[in-house]
Symmetry: C2
């Protein structure tokens, strides 16, 4: 396959609330009240770990079939640590996640060895895992100003 | 502030469809039919750029107030490029995004110079931008197997 381009938009609503959209699917993004928002949706860093868990789960569903693993259930708990001083400009600490960890819950009659290989394959091939775990080139913003 | 931990879960539904959840907020994740899914939600890499746009928009709303910029409207178009050969294992290309770009649409009577500084501050302090643009430590999976 050739390079594929994925697109999305994000638009400010009221206060800190945002609606983001891709291919007609929408997601509400906000901050909890203690971070200045109105708590109408998950916040962006929560959305990032949801995307990671979603990506790993999709690969699990797909690879289970290929590896002939009978996957009766699959779910993941994820957590990430960041220091809010970074985005608040209160220290030089990075604003983003410092560390992310997760626990994959797998219900299957496959051998432990086969499940380990399965998980290694998911981790190696995960597009969101690679996007987060390795640096991506972010171009500087184009800015379109309307008076 | 001290290190803050954000949490989420992702659970397989049917086929490639996933429900992810953080603090009671849910998001449906799936793939379009041409990628093997049932198209019931955006896919994980679209969700990642939605999270990026959402994060930039929240910082814009927050910093506009601090910089006394009258922000009448703010929205972003984002796009990211990746090569599906990576997650399919058809080549050694990275599975994640290779490049992400965005166009910020700003309606404001502020000077162009002030808007440039505003955008630079958003880019510098964005937690999701930093998470994507710089490597994050992803711990190897813990695996909990149920027979």
């Amino acid at each position: 396959m050739a390079i594929t381009t994925f697109k999305a938009t994000a638009r400010r609503k009221k206060g800190l609330a945002v609606t983001a959209e891709a291919r007609g699917f929408k997601v509400d993004i906000d901050e909890p009240e203690k971070l200045g928002g109105t708590d109408t949706g998950m916040n962006p860093v929560e959305l990032v770990i949801c995307a990671l868990g979603g990506c790993q789960t999709i690969l699990a569903a797909s690879f289970a079939e290929k590896m002939r693993i009978n996957l009766e259930d699959f779910w993941i708990e994820l957590e990430g640590e960041l220091d809010p001083d970074g985005f608040m400009g209160l220290s030089d600490v990075r604003p983003g996640y410092q560390k992310i960890r997760y626990n994959m819950h797998i219900k299957s009659d496959a051998s432990e060895e086969k499940i380990k290989k399965f998980v290694e394959l998911i981790e190696k091939r995960c597009p969101v895992g690679d996007t987060i775990g390795n640096a991506v080139e972010l171009e500087k913003a184009k800015i379109t100003i309307e008076k």
